[in-house]
């Protein structure tokens, strides 16, 4: 419940403050969002499995975001940013789908 409250607070703060992202970081924001989404769904699945640990969640969230953005940044420097971000999106997307499938199994027992 507190977690949902936190999510709500974050959304509201984002809507109200409308923080400006530096132009140099703008290309990496979408990939960071996808990585964060993966971490969040992973944490929710662990919560439903009954093995949720907030420390693991925090670490996985931060590392996911930072590593995804860093991979794309390095790719941009090497000139293969588009390909690398495609790869990251594919891997994270598959993970998100399988996590959501597990969550669905938990919620609907199907």
């Amino acid at each position: 419940m507190i977690a949902l409250l936190g999510l709500l607070v974050g959304v509201v703060v984002g809507l109200v403050a409308q923080p400006d992202v530096p132009l140099s970081l703008q290309p990496y924001l979408p990939i960071a969002v996808v990585a964060a989404l993966d971490a969040v769904f992973g944490g929710f699945r662990a919560f439903l499995d009954g093995i949720f640990d907030d420390k693991v969640f925090v670490v996985s969230f931060l590392s996911n975001v930072v590593i995804a953005a860093a991979i794309v940044w390095v790719g941009d420097k090497l000139g293969v940013g588009g390909q690398l971000s495609t790869g990251v999106i594919v891997v994270l997307g598959i993970r998100i789908f399988s996590n959501v499938a597990a969550i669905r199994r938990h919620l609907f027992h199907a």
Partner: protein, 274 residues
């Protein structure tokens, strides 16, 4: 055996750390559960919400600028299309005027060619262009004995007879006869074009070799000349020359100092005949 990539990703979709921590906790090695385990997760989730909203807002903002860029691009495309259309109409106009100019050019060229042809014919007729062709060669020599010699009047009769017989160009000893030519005696010497000639007098005339000689004898001047030649004993030798065998030089052109073209000038100068 290596696991296929897709299977690997699907199997490890849940962070293994959760399992490790759970196992460790079950084994009793783990730290005690935190008093408020959900607070840190809530903070991270708040961060997540913030990031998501930032990305959403950023994307919508960018989309507005993208829209503006697209609109200005469309505007530019339309403007350039208008320019292209006006250029197309200009191409059409220029092409039309080009065609008209080409027609004028061909007409002018044809006129120039016609004028050139007319000029050449006039030059041939008047003796100011070297010509070549078949004809007759008449060699007149002074009598071998006696006081008499070939005079200007004799040659004039011969030349008149040749013109009457249809000669198109005549020269005497290489002196081309023109509209300004005079055949005159100066003492015993015959002058043509004010140049003294020395016998024998070779009169070359270009014309139809099949009829020229006979017509010469039929003509008034030719008959008179033959009569005089018999009377005074001139040597007359008439030869037919076929197949462009005769070449007559052009007369020296003299500039017109007093004569001017009478207006209106006649375009039908080809009617000019000897």
């Amino acid at each position: 055996m290596t696991t296929p990539l897709l299977t690997l990703i699907t199997q490890q979709s849940l962070d293994e750390d959760y399992l490790h921590v759970a196992e460790r906790r079950a084994a009793g090695h783990g730290r005690a559960p935190t008093a408020r385990p959900q607070v840190r997760a809530a903070i991270v989730l708040a961060l997540f919400g913030l990031i998501v909203m930032t990305a959403v807002i950023q994307t919508s903002r960018n989309s507005s600028t993208d829209q503006a860029g697209r609109a200005s691009l469309i505007e530019r495309i339309n403007a350039e299309r208008a320019v292209g259309r006006s250029l197309q109409t200009r191409i059409g106009r220029v092409t039309a005027s080009n065609t008209a100019a080409e027609e004028t050019l061909s007409a002018v060229t044809a006129a120039a060619v016609a004028a050139q042809t007319r000029l050449r014919r006039v030059q041939i007729r008047t003796g100011y262009l070297a010509v070549t062709g078949p004809g007759v060669r008449v060699t007149v020599t002074d009598p071998e004995s006696g006081e008499e010699a070939v005079r200007d009047t004799d040659l004039r009769r011969l030349v008149n007879g040749l013109w009457q017989a249809g000669a198109e160009a005549i020269a005497i000893n290489g002196q081309r006869l023109t509209v300004l030519t005079a055949i005159r005696n100066s003492g015993p010497v015959v002058n043509v074009n004010y140049q003294p000639l020395r016998p024998p007098y070779v009169v070359t005339a270009i014309g139809d070799p099949r009829t020229l000689q006979a017509d010469l004898l039929d003509s008034e001047g030719g008959a008179e000349f033959i009569g005089l030649a018999r009377q005074y004993g001139f040597g007359v030798d008439v030869q037919n020359v076929d197949d462009d065998g005769l070449t007559l030089p052009a007369a020296t052109q003299r500039g017109l100092r007093s004569a001017q073209i009478a207006a209106p000038s006649r375009p039908d100068m080809e009617d000019l005949a000897p």
